[in-house]
């Protein structure tokens, strides 16, 4: 079963995302509200996937993704935002994240579709 860490500063989104993902057969192992706690929790919980909001109150999602990917056993990072991917130009493609999903398009299957096969990194 995929283990997921949800990182977002909006409680309503975390709640909906958890329900959506759990309904889709994922195990949400934790929630973080900002970049720093996301990095801490990821190190402790070692989730398989981190659903990472780009607009965080402290460090932005791109930087969190970079730091998460620099670890020894990096989780797969899926960036998310309520804006569309176009709003970030080439930055999503340039980041080590496995993919991007718009918040309103979030679902277990949509998430699963973005995942690369285990052990293979997007970049």
């Amino acid at each position: 079963m995929r283990t997921i860490l949800i990182v977002d500063d909006h409680a309503s989104f975390r709640r909906q995302a958890r329900a959506q993902l759990e309904a889709g057969g994922c195990a949400v192992v934790g929630e973080a509200t900002d970049g720093r706690s996301a990095i801490e929790l990821a190190a402790r919980l070692r989730p398989g996937v981190v659903l990472l909001d780009i607009g965080l109150p402290d460090i932005d999602g791109f930087e969190v993704a970079r730091q998460l990917s620099a670890g020894e056993t990096p989780p797969q990072v899926i960036l998310t935002s309520s804006r569309d991917a176009a709003s970030y130009g080439p930055r999503i493609a340039q980041s080590p994240a496995a993919g991007f999903i718009a918040k309103d398009a979030l679902s277990g299957p949509a998430l699963a579709a973005l995942m690369a096969p285990a052990g293979e990194r997007r970049r």
């Binding site: 909906q16 959506q20 309904a23 607009g55 965080l56 309520s82 130009g89 930055r91 309103d104 979030l106």
Partner: protein, 606 residues
């Protein structure tokens, strides 16, 4: 024309001068036999005397008109009026003779005093008084000629015997003559020495007006010496008369010198009037000083400008002057004011004060220049303030739009996202119960929410494109180009990020230009180029459409131009009918430019 007092005075003086010139002729006709041998030969000298006297009267009148408080004008006028009378020595009438003697002494004294006291009209110190005293003594002594001489012998055409003649022996007469010659030579030596010394010591701003007067005096001395030498040589009567003629002409040298001085000073004033033009718009204090010093021929001149902020005068280096008089030293200080407020002070050679007109001209020149400078400074400051406030308004508007976009993103957008997810979950849960009607309603709700989210995103992008702050100008413009209505090429050469307001302005230029291409141009292709040339961002959008865009017309281009100009840039629209449109904006984009409110670092928090 109303006859005021000065005019009446001038008229009266000229009338007296005419009378004075005619007097000798009338008197001559009375006791001279014009037909006597040698008389005709004397006529040029007579005419020269009348002419010299006239020149003196006119010069005196000019001097009085220029500076009524200076006595030199009066001296020149009076000596000119007395001249004809002064040379009627030995007249038959006792009264005329006495009058002539007095006139001669007075004319000689005044004539010499004019030169010595020029241009102040004051005899300061012992030396000037001594020179005048020698001249007067010499003139007084000349009376002995009247008393001793026998004009029937010495002056051709003299009919009457000298009624005052002293009947003394010839040896005594010769002795008197020697003493007179000694006095005459002594006077010429003293006067000549004094003039030469003054000439050699001349410097400073008064030089141009004083030198011609001194030259006139020296010419008089030289002519006198020549005449005396000629008389001693005992030449023919013809040569003697020529020497007398020259000597008499030389009387006019001093008033002519005076008028030449006036003319030179007048030209100097023109030079100062030109100064205003020469100084141009905003002279540096040093430049002002240099121009004034050169115009007034006064190397010691300094200009101190009044500082309204520091409430003191500033020297050329811009340092405050605590005590103007102490700095001035022996120089005179002329203060310039505007409406009672100090404007500037000129420290100059005190000799300049002798010509108040000159100082007034300089004052006017400096006042005009300094006032002009002040006004320009004010206008410049106001313009700078207006420009700055215009830029601030644009930046504030940008900041407000960014805030609005963020509020939408953080507020309504998040709620709609959550709602969308909740509906999605509800639809997932529904599958179990399989109520088709409810499922359809939920599907409808889901579509509505997605549509609302899409519209909201478009709205937010229109208010402020998040990509500009998130990914920079290049990516933002690339997304515009990708969405453009016609196939558009993009060329970007930006080695660095630019200040936020500059990127935003450039983005809006491209956005508006591409929107126009889509709407009006009937174009098939377009190109966008962004490049950093020096410290300026050059934005160029071209299309191959119909052209004819009017930069003054449409509110879009107008607003764009306002915005570009608010950023101190310029916008050019080249659009000829049939050959497409080029919109080119040049925006100053120095790295240290202020107001980087749009910089991405400030936007990390969403």
């Amino acid at each position: 024309m109303k006859l005021d007092r000065p005019r009446l005075e001038v008229a009266a003086i000229l009338l007296v001068a005419v009378g004075a010139s005619v007097l000798p002729i009338v008197v001559d006709g009375w006791w001279f036999d014009v037909t006597a041998p040698g008389r005709a030969a004397q006529m040029p000298t007579r005419v020269a005397l009348a002419g010299s006297c006239w020149v003196s009267v006119v010069a005196g009148l000019i001097a009085r008109a220029r500076r009524p408080e200076n006595p030199i004008g009066t001296w020149l006028t009076v000596s000119g009026l007395l001249g004809p009378l002064a040379f009627m020595v030995g007249a038959a009438s006792p009264l005329l003779t006495i009058a002539s003697a007095v006139a001669f002494v007075a004319a000689a004294g005044l004539g010499v005093a004019t030169v010595i006291a020029f241009p102040t009209g004051r005899l300061d110190g012992r030396a000037p008084w001594a020179v005048v005293a020698v001249a007067v003594t010499c003139a007084v002594y000349r009376i002995q000629q009247i008393v001793l001489a026998d004009p029937t012998v010495s002056i051709p055409g003299w009919r009457e015997p000298n009624p005052y003649r002293l009947h003394i022996d010839q040896a005594s007469i010769d002795a008197f003559g020697l003493v007179y010659d000694a006095f005459g030579i002594g006077f010429l030596l003293v006067f000549g020495y004094w003039l030469t010394r003054r000439w050699l010591r001349l410097r400073g701003p008064g030089r141009r007006s004083i030198a011609p007067v001194l030259a006139g005096g020296l010419f008089f001395v030289v002519a006198s010496v020549v005449q005396a030498a000629t008389e001693m040589a005992n030449p023919s009567e013809q040569i003697l008369e020529a020497a007398r003629f020259g000597h008499t002409l030389s009387f006019s040298a001093i008033p002519i010198g005076f008028m030449a001085g006036v003319l030179r000073v007048r030209m100097e004033r023109y030079a100062i009037a030109d100064l205003v033009v020469e100084l141009g718009e905003t002279p540096e204090p040093a430049e002002l000083r240099r121009a004034l010093a050169s115009a007034l021929d006064d190397p010691s001149l300094e200009v101190a400008l009044w500082s309204t902020e520091e409430e003191t005068y500033l020297d050329a280096a811009g340092s405050p002057i605590a005590d103007l008089d102490a700095v001035a030293g022996s120089r005179a200080v002329t203060l310039l004011e505007r409406d009672g407020d100090p404007l500037a002070a000129i420290l100059h050679d005190a000799a300049l004060l002798e010509d108040p007109g000159l100082v007034a001209s300089v004052a006017t020149a400096v006042r005009l220049t300094v006032e002009n400078d002040r006004l320009q400074d004010e206008v410049r400051a106001q313009l700078a303030e207006v420009r700055a406030s215009r830029a601030r308004i644009v930046e504030a508007t940008d900041a407000e739009r960014r805030r609005l976009e963020r509020d939408i993103h953080d507020g309504a957008q998040q709620r709609l996202v959550a709602l969308s997810l909740a509906i999605g979950r509800a639809r997932g849960q529904l599958k179990a119960t399989a109520d088709p009607e409810l499922a359809a309603t939920l599907a409808q709700a889901s579509d509505e929410v997605r549509a609302a989210l899409t519209e909201l995103r478009e709205l937010a992008r229109g208010i402020h494109p998040a990509i500009l702050t998130e990914a920079g100008l290049e990516s933002a413009v690339r997304s515009l180009v990708d969405r453009a209505a016609v196939s558009t090429e993009l060329e970007v050469d930006l080695p660095r990020r630019l200040p936020g307001p500059v990127e935003a302005t450039a983005y809006f230029v491209v956005s508006e230009a591409l929107a126009n291409v889509g709407k009006h141009a009937r174009a098939t292709a377009a190109s966008v180029a962004l490049s950093l040339v020096g410290d300026s961002l050059v934005v160029e959008v071209r299309d191959d459409g119909a052209g004819g865009a009017d930069p003054a017309g449409g509110s879009g281009l107008r607003g764009l131009r306002d915005r570009v100009e608010a950023m101190a840039g310029r916008l050019e629209v080249t659009s000829t009918s049939g050959s497409g449109t080029t919109i080119r904006a040049v925006l100053p984009a120095a790295q240290d430019a202020p107001a980087t409110a749009l910089a991405p670092t400030a936007e990390a928090a969403e």
